[in-house]
């Protein structure tokens, strides 16, 4: 206690960072803030930019955050990012996203046609099933 605190960076889509931290710098709305352990409770908006994290026994790490909220409690700091993706992954993520979007669009187009057809045929099949059941009750 005292030399480290716990940091969580989360966005609605995923958790980006969770672990012990010695020091961090975040782009708050009124300017950059540096936070050491046992900081006074604070709530602030943050702008898009890099959050610099110094974890014990590790080099500085940078996480890109595009806006959000920062809550500081003496031993726990939470960054609620609106959308945040690790800096190194930023370009790759975008590429994957674009590709997935294209694939998704193609898949959806197909499945929509299938849906309409399947729905029509399904209705027919249920009608047939009930007809057969009626038939079976009457005869066989």
């Amino acid at each position: 206690m005292g030399t480290i605190f716990h940091l969580d960076i989360v966005s609605a889509e995923e958790s980006l960072y969770s672990g012990p931290v010695e020091f961090l710098v975040a782009p708050a709305q009124m300017g950059e803030v540096g936070i050491y352990p046992r900081h006074t409770p604070m709530l602030t908006r943050i702008q898009s930019g890099m959050v610099r994290i110094k974890a014990p026994l590790k080099d500085d790490e940078l996480v890109y955050v595009s806006g959000g909220m920062l809550e500081v409690q003496p031993d726990v700091v939470t960054i609620l990012a609106d959308t945040a993706v690790r800096a190194a992954d930023l370009d790759e993520a975008k590429a994957i996203e674009a590709k997935e979007a294209a694939e998704e669009a193609m898949k959806n187009r197909e499945s929509e046609i299938d849906f309409a057809r399947a729905q029509a045929e399904l209705i027919e099949a249920t009608a047939q099933l009930s007809a057969i059941q009626k038939l079976r009750k009457r005869g066989h």
């Binding site: 969580d8 989360v10 966005s11 609605a12 889509e13 995923e14 958790s15 969770s18 708050a28 709305q29 009124m30 006074t40 409770p41 604070m42 709530l43 602030t44 908006r45 909220m69 809550e71 409690q73 003496p74 031993d75 726990v76 939470t78 609620l80 609106d82 959308t83 998704e104 959806n108 499945s111 299938d114 849906f115 057809r117 399947a118 729905q119 045929e121 399904l122 027919e124 099949a125 249920t126 047939q128 099933l129 057969i132 079976r136």
Partner: protein, 296 residues
């Protein structure tokens, strides 16, 4: 042999249907896995923002957000109905809409007015048929719930609450319990209840026990608290949407499995009929030949 060709055609068509339902079952199964992943990934954010909201409700803030203030008289209600965009997923949408309809009827009986925000195509169509007043809508969300798409429609409802057009806001959606079981639920979104905020947050972290402390706000208390509260409610709605999507995919998978099985029964029945008529025809032919031979 008159009927046998028809029966054979029918068997073929049912087999085609079965192929489609089986394909849809597999598509739903793979989508379900992704939807569940997404649901799990959204959880930390929901937990953290609830922690922050819980800390905030313990702090001595000079400004109390309207979302936290309970209102005595309830005259107007806002509801958010989360449904899927597409059908063929069993009773999923029907269940949640039936639940909503029940509440709507009881509000009507109590002379309370209500307005609806629809997330998903099916709910929108239903509310249109019922004749409810739809104030905002999001459709065609696709397979990934997009916060950006939701924000607009949700804001309409939240603004309605802050502007006193609503006294209560509820959300209806399907809670995902497991692959076989989804449960339609109604939850109160606004005003935020204490139990909801405190929920399962342990009081151990930070200085939550002490009173008489407050945050430093940058730049000011009001806009920051406003932001947090709006984000908190948005996170709750986002979670509801992700749960509903997981429910949709698993319900579809189960429904399509049932449909494939039913198609199998139909095929069996038809095959039996086909074979019977075929055998009858052969027997008839044989006896004719035998009778003919005997006559000679």
């Amino acid at each position: 042999m008159a009927g046998s060709r028809e029966v054979r055609n029918k068997i073929k068509s049912v087999k085609n249907t079965q192929k489609i339902t089986r394909a849809m079952e597999m598509v739903a199964a793979s989508k379900m896995r992704k939807a569940q992943d997404r649901m799990k990934k959204a959880r930390p954010y929901g937990e953290k923002i609830r922690n922050v909201a819980a800390h905030m409700s313990l702090a001595n803030t000079e400004y109390r957000h309207p979302f936290l203030i309970d209102r005595d008289s309830v005259k107007r209600v806002g509801i958010i109905v989360v449904t899927s965009d597409k059908g063929l997923c069993g009773g999923l949408n029907t269940n949640v809409l039936r639940r909503a309809l029940k509440e709507m009827k009881s509000w009507e009986a109590d002379k309370e007015e209500f307005e609806v925000c629809c997330i998903g195509n099916k709910g929108l169509g239903f509310m249109g048929r019922v004749g409810a007043k739809v104030i905002s809508q999001v459709v065609a969300l696709g397979d990934t719930p997009d916060m950006e798409k939701l924000i607009g429609a949700v804001k309409v409802v939240l603004d309605g609450y802050t502007e006193d057009r609503f006294d209560r806001v509820f959300i209806f959606y399907n809670r995902f319990i497991n692959t076989m079981k989804q449960e339609p639920v109604m939850e109160q979104l606004l005003p935020l209840t204490d139990e909801r905020i405190k929920g399962d947050t342990e009081a151990g972290d930070g200085q939550s026990g002490n009173t008489a402390w407050d945050y430093i706000y940058e730049p000011e208390a009001k806009p920051v608290i406003d932001d947090i509260m709006v984000r908190y409610v948005e996170a709750l709605i986002y979670q509801a949407v992700t749960e509903n999507m997981s429910s949709e995919q698993s319900a579809r998978m189960v429904a399509m499995k049932a449909a494939s099985d039913n198609a199998g029964t139909v095929i069996d029945e038809l095959t039996l009929i086909y074979n019977k008529s075929r055998q009858a025809a052969i027997t008839k032919e044989l006896s004719e030949i035998v009778a003919g031979a005997a006559a000679v």
